[in-house]
Amino acid sequence: MEELILSVVQRTLVAGTPLLLGTIGEIISERSGILNLGVEGVMAVGAVTAFIVTHHTGNPWLGLCAAIVAGMLISIVHAFASVSLQSNQVVSGLALTMLGLGVAGLLGKPYVGKPLAIKINAMPIPFLSDIPVVGPVLFNQSPFFYMAVLLAIGAWFVLEHTLLGIRIRSTGENPKATETQGVNVSLVRYLSVIAGGGFSAMAGAHLSISYSKSWIEGMTAGRGWIVIALTIFALWNPLRAMVGAFLFGGIFVLQYMLQPLGISPNFLAMPSPQRPGHAGGTLPPRRALRARL
């Protein structure tokens, strides 16, 4: 029984990792005042880029870097539309999702069904992983997990305790006042959206070069949309995002574990997406989302 629980926790953390990465990115973007509904598409681009580069170079770390760059590049389109052209963020975000999914599908077509020779494997942390019970669960994970947790803490630190963070948050809260303080609001927004794209792409890379070692169309399976909901669930706080992401990760895992017992996996998934909606309602909606929606 204990083994089972540990295995569930272990797998929960794995399943929650891409959700956490994506959510950090979306938090940064929304804190600067730009809603990015394109996460799903950027994730797909990240996944396919990471896969292709790893496939050809044999170096998954190079694949990860390429994915981040690709995710940032494609996010520029959304930044341009919503910041420079001041167009509707919902429409432009949807366009980004479609574009991302489409491009990923096209690029990845020749690679469907080809497994990678190498992937980013679990990396036990010396000493820590030897701690009984907790060790193997927390400290024998994929590097993506460590990165996600560190980045969440880092993002929280940047937002709350640095000048850059104050600028990002001020831009989202009141762009006009921020502009009069000599801050280049457009630049802050561009950078935030682009950084958000990098995080989403990282989440995608986790799927194709660590979680599994293959590419198939639609492998992001709606995680990008869950990220949008998680962002609200986390109340735009990267630390709370950890709680939310791993909670959702747990639901994913339970769903698959209960499947053989004859319980429909879909049944459990049902209540999950409802939660963020409630959270968004009982707590004051933030300006970032109300703005121009």
Partner: protein, 360 residues
């Protein structure tokens, strides 16, 4: 010396708007061609295939019209919602709910009622199903200030799972060799097709009539006026005594209801039974967002933009088969064209003048 000046455009002629649109679509096509090129596909060949597969052949054109039906219905409803700045991106599940309600009516009363009775009943049920599902985000927004983008998105998931639950559980047919499908609708509940095609005429006529009526409603009636005032300035609408709650509920009932009509139309006209969500709707609820946008939120123009994007869907299927491209190819079209439409909007709303002069 030249410099650019961006300023609000006071008024733009219909021809100007149309030309910008054509320009945006053309530029979008060029970019799509480039993307194809980068992905190792000959763009000229691909475009030729898409055109011949959608508009350039009799079979293709029939398919284009078939798939335009749900796009026109949903696009019209979305145009109404977007006019009021209610961002309904849950048409996909409003369609499914319409399909569920309508199918239930068809399965239960189809065997005992004649076609002229059961078919209208199913459409009514489909409308109600979509409308009820559309009302949920409206109520959440009015009562709890929950952003409709998030709620409609999440409702898409809930509805899809609900449908799966139905077809693997209580509604699962005993005659389908264990597949998760419902029973077939009885013959009386099945829509007749235009011979030699899959065009279910009843829904087609319904769609065209609905968007025409909707255009009249938006531009000629008190309700439409109120919708537009709410969309343009909700504070002024409140000040003017326009009932936000009532109007929003009505908007979402209509918007969801029209998607519901599309849903039951798809089942009664094409599939004849309920199955997995992706096979009942191939993303019509999302594609219709672009349809509405291309139509500049005018339901009348939705007829044309619906046929246009339907052509891309059908043509996309054609190149999938002939060039072995992935299903997502159509997304490249939709995403890119949507971006260029947004850019076109920028140019119709803003005047960019190239001036010559000393001052910069």
């Amino acid at each position: 010396m030249l410099h650019f000046k961006v300023s609000d455009r006071e008024q733009i002629s219909a021809i100007g708007t149309f030309l910008t649109l054509v320009l945006a679509l053309t530029a979008g096509m060029v970019v799509i061609g480039l993307i194809f090129l980068l992905c190792g596909v000959n763009p000229f060949f691909a475009f030729k295939k898409i055109f011949s597969g959608s508009f350039g052949s009799v079979f293709g054109f029939k398919e284009t019209i078939t798939k335009a039906i749900p796009l026109i219905l949903i696009g019209g409803g979305l145009a109404l919602a977007f006019k009021a700045k209610f961002w309904n991106i849950g048409a996909e599940s409003q369609l499914l709910m319409g399909a569920i309600f309508g199918t239930w009516v068809g399965l239960h009363w189809g065997p005992v009622l004649p076609s002229p009775v059961i078919v209208p009943l199913m459409f009514v049920a489909g409308f109600i199903g979509g409308a009820l599902w559309g009302l949920i985000p409206a109520i959440l927004k009015i009562r709890f200030a929950i952003n409709e983008v998030i709620s409609t998105l999440m409702l898409n998931y809930i509805c899809a799972e609900f449908l799966i639950l139905l077809i693997v559980g209580p509604w699962k047919s005993k005659k389908k060799f264990g597949f998760p499908y419902t029973d077939d609708l009885p013959d009386s509940a099945i829509l007749s097709l235009l011979p030699g095609s899959r065009i279910h005429t009843a829904t087609l006529i319904l769609a065209v009539v609905a968007v025409v009526v909707l255009a009249i409603v938006i531009y000629k009636t008190r309700f439409g006026y109120e919708v537009r005032v709410i969309g343009e300035n909700p504070d002024a609408a409140k000040y003017a005594g326009i009932d936000f709650t009532r109007t929003t509920l009505l908007i979402m009932a209509i918007s969801g209801g029209m998607a519901g009509l599309a849903g039951i139309g798809e089942v009664a006209g094409i599939h004849h039974y309920l199955s997995y969500p992706d096979s009942i709707s191939s993303g019509y609820g999302f594609t219709a967002i672009i349809v509405a946008w291309l139509a500049k939120l005018n339901p009348l123009y939705v007829i044309f933009s619906g046929i246009f994007f339907s052509g891309i869907l059908v043509g996309g299927d054609a190149i999938q088969i002939s060039l072995g491209l992935p299903a997502a190819t159509v997304d490249v079209f939709n995403g890119t064209l949507l971006f260029f439409l947004i850019m076109g909007d920028f140019f119709t709303k803003n005047k960019i003048r190239v001036l010559s002069g000393e001052r910069a």
